[in-house]
Symmetry: C2
Subunit: 582 residues, 2 copies
């Protein structure tokens, strides 16, 4: 992270913002025109020095907060007496108050200043991310309400901190969701030092909340083995800091506790989303976005048919097996559990196999349809790629741990064989999909008029391309590809005019890519919904928990799965972009 920030610093943003509303600067520039070189250079240097310091300071703050947090979390896990959840929650409360205060300050400050935010990064905070944030934020709010209601029942014999924490967390979620919804695209120019530190504080707080939630979820899973899910009271003694002699004063406690543990995964996802958005905002501080020529890409489904159709079939079938799985696992019948696990594995095997095959086909089409790569700097795309690979590590980890466990125990029986097959195929699918998406994101979007404009300026390309097309394409498509040369003139006469007839007909390569994207997109939605809504074959199949110790396995799954879910969501968004540009 830090070294990346360092690169950002060095690869020099344009020094003085052309329209920065600083009266001092403009007076200087006006009165000392002769010395303008000197001034702009020294101003640039001061600016760079300040940027340098503030990213360093904000990184150091983050490192300190996070490591202290890790120490507290570890202490509270491994030591029941000296450090308990309350100490950790006090630390979190301090972070929550500081972060909320800064976010309110920022919101008020930018709303008062006229020119506080001059630039917006159009790639940052896409609608799926903000939408997901709001959705998960709502679930987290409900979780907090349940928590408050639950701990009110213990107030007579337990610490008040346990009520204060969810109350503050709810306030924090409200403020943060509002803040990120409004400001996720901001490229902050004023008060950069404070903003950098504030954003890193926001990032740290979200990561700490994430860490605390994951740990609590793990402890919860550890104390209650998933077999007997009805003894809901036993684990809370551990997870909430030990009030074994303290009884709830109202009757809804048991239900509330059960309910809010179901909402934990949403809260975990919320923290991850908010962290990603805070990080992008941090990267964008001080950035001067050059106005990209934003091509409006139209979403038209009627060009594609096979991909969405097969994808929908997969989605419906998958959701069907998922419902069966959830219902039968809930019953706790061991014989039935094996059957539904097998159905679940078969479904997954089919899905990832089809996805792998279509991805390979997609990569082959990329080879045929050589297109220029998008040049120029784009931090959001870099982050997209980084997040894609980073988030896939969670899924990779679970798969490899499963493979090692199954292979080492001998992999006897259909269930283990299927488990192994799914894990292996998922690893392959993840590798292929990463390659497909990253390659797709880097290709130049298809634009007839851009294409033609460049053809117009350099006739050699046209000849070469036409020549190549004749060799590569079936005869029927020849005239479509040859026509640009003939339509160049009419295009330039009416640049905003009605689309020409041949625009609507896609080449078979573009169409195939779109089909593949649509299919992969729907399959990723399926693979996202299943874990997000509670499928945990990793625990229902006991091989992992038996092979590794349960603590270890719960840690691996509980840390890996949220990243896996995030990966699938992110893939859906990225595939949608590839669909539009291809």
């Amino acid at each position: 992270m830090t070294s990346e920030a360092e690169m950002e610093v060095e690869e020099g943003y344009i020094s003085p913002p052309p329209t920065l509303p600083s009266t001092r600067c403009s007076v200087q520039a006006g009165s000392m025109r002769r010395g303008s070189d000197v001034l702009s250079t020294s101003r640039g240097t001061v600016r760079e020095r300040g940027r340098n310091r503030s990213w360093l300071l904000s990184s150091i703050i983050t490192v300190n907060v996070l490591i202290l947090g890790i120490a507290l979390v570890s202490g509270s896990v491994f030591n029941n007496v000296k450090i308990n959840t309350i100490n950790l929650q006090i630390f979190l409360i301090v972070l929550l108050i500081l972060t909320t205060a800064w976010m309110l300050y920022y919101t008020i400050y930018t709303s008062r200043e006229d020119h506080a935010v001059l630039y917006k990064d159009s790639h940052a905070g896409p609608v799926w991310l903000r939408g997901g944030l709001v959705l998960f934020g709502l679930c987290s709010l409900i979780m907090d309400v349940f928590k408050i209601a639950n701990y009110v029942g213990y107030l007579h014999c337990d610490s008040a901190v346990k009520i204060v924490f969810p109350v503050l967390q709810a306030v924090f979620i409200l403020v943060q969701t509002y803040f990120l919804w409004l400001h996720a695209k901001d490229c902050v120019q004023l008060q950069r030092n404070i903003t950098r530190c504030g954003l890193m504080l926001t990032l740290s707080t979200n990561l700490m909340l994430w860490m605390a939630a994951v740990t609590e979820e793990s402890l919860h899973q550890t104390v209650v083995p998933p077999e007997d899910g009805n003894s809901t009271h036993s684990y809370d003694i551990r997870a909430s800091g030990g009030y074994s002699s303290c009884n709830c004063s109202h009757s809804a406690c048991a239900v509330l506790e059960k309910a809010y543990y179901y909402l934990y995964p949403f809260n975990i996802e919320y923290s991850l989303f908010a962290s990603a958005m805070a990080y992008v905002m941090w990267k964008n501080v001080g950035r001067l976005v050059d106005e990209h020529n934003h091509h409006s890409l139209h979403f038209r489904l009627k060009d594609v048919l096979v991909g969405p159709a097969v994808g929908l079939v997969m989605l419906v079938a998958g959701l069907g097996t998922f419902v069966i799985y959830e219902v039968d696992v809930e019953k706790g019948d061991l014989g039935k559990r094996d059957t539904v696990l097998m159905i679940h594995y078969v479904m997954n095997t089919v899905a990832v196999t089809l996805m792998s095959v279509s991805t390979v086909a997609g990569c082959a089409i990329y080879r045929l349809d050589q297109r220029d790569h998008v040049s120029g700097k784009n931090p959001t795309r870099s982050l997209d790629v980084g997040l894609l690979i980073g988030a896939s590590i969670g899924q990779f980890t679970i798969c490899y741990f499963t493979i090692v466990a199954v292979v080492a125990t001998g992999a006897e029986g259909h269930l283990n064989a299927l488990n192994l097959a799914v894990s292996l195929l998922t690893v392959i699918q993840l590798c292929l999909q990463n390659i497909f998406i990253i390659e797709g994101l880097h290709r130049e979007p298809f634009h007839e008029d851009m294409h033609q404009a460049s053809v117009f300026t350099n006739p050699y390309v046209l000849q070469a391309q036409a020549h190549r097309d004749i060799h590569n394409l079936p005869g029927t498509f020849m005239e479509t590809k040859m026509s640009p040369a003939l339509t160049v003139h009419s295009m330039h006469v009416a640049p905003s005019g009605s689309p020409l007839p041949q625009r609507h007909r896609l080449t078979w390569k573009r169409r195939a890519l779109k089909e593949i994207c649509a299919f992969l997109l729907l399959c990723n939605i399926l693979l996202w919904i299943m874990p997000a809504f509670g499928a945990r074959p990793q625990f229902d199949n006991t091989i992992g928990a038996e092979f590794y110790e349960f603590t270890m396995w719960a840690a691996v799954v509980n840390i890996g799965l949220p990243f896996g879910i995030f990966y699938r969501m992110h893939s859906v968004a990225s595939l949608f972009e590839v669909f539009l540009t291809s």
Copy 2:
């Protein structure tokens, strides 16, 4: 890591290397001069696409190797029966063979091709890193010899893999040290795809060896609590995969086992060094280094006096207490242990306090002596900064864990109070030192003639600066700072001539900075030697092991300390650079 690589890709290296000895390219360029724009663009794009693919592929290989490795290591730690050290070692053997083969191939290939390496990154693989690599490599070789001799004694009843692994590791270390010594500075231009993958394989192998060594060291520490260091035989039953009924056939086994466990830390450091160098090489693949104007900076100690003197006193005193500490801890007397621990803590407190104070002074001088920041891209400096902050996380972690443990247990007695003080002060010292070094590395080096040249071109700066100097400086220094204007002409007449008299006299600011750097450098050497040669106050003081469980604490210390040692070495090198440039 990946997203950084992505940035590297996007921020466009210069497309076609001007002197690449490719006959094909020059023929094309010659015969088709008219279409040269098109050609160079498309060639650049192909190049970029290739780079894109190969970094993606190499990243994916690394991710897969590492995660499979983590799964195997976890399996071997948490599961005694199914997966043992032998399985893990077979995996490592495969990696070792592949990596060694690639390194041999690369060495032979580049020695045969005339123009295989055209560019060298002068910043990469500095002499301290390569020297350290050789030193630690030697220790690792000795460790392997001891291991082989030891396991020969068990050959009649144990797996032969245990001998094959150290043999191959020794070969690997020899080949890799030779490879990195020769090629650490290479900016590879030919066979970039293979080279990228090979380097990432090297990185993965080193990280896996590091992980395996750290785990074995942790297990070793876990089974034998440090109190009774004389029962050397018990732990090996666990650490080497369980041959409880297998007895050594020669008498040297006990001694050998004890000896090679002392050499583990060096092997761990070796892997870290090699990983860092492989990573830099990977970043440099395909890079075209523009010839930096390399100013020869002279190392002159006679300008500074106070800093080195105080530093040397600290170093000698520290080494004295360290020897006392080691001797007394070895005896195992509990009463004496507390005394020497206290001496050790006092020594550390004094050292880090003085270091913090001088660092603050240094940062204040930076503020007074505003100097331009080095502009332009420099991946090695970015990596330096990243490594500095990254490696400091190890030390941070140990400190914060100690702080939490001491505060939570109440911190009674002098020993705990001192422990707390050392940890808090070390955290502060690390933050300050990071700021000081990073700020120092980014400042433009001091050069009289450069300074004057820029003054010569723009008279306004001179006036402004002279004006500022009059206000800021004590009267005696005025003429020194005013003189450049008068000497500009003579400088330009004799650019390579003998240094002018006033060059030798440093301003008080530069001198103070040099004193501070020298002092910090020597103190960092002290803080490096102590843990590197076996001081483990974290285990000798039992508070950490009692507060966290022993496994947890051993993991934190054994992962954190190697990074801490690396951090101190790296700081020494960076401070030396700051010393030269300030």
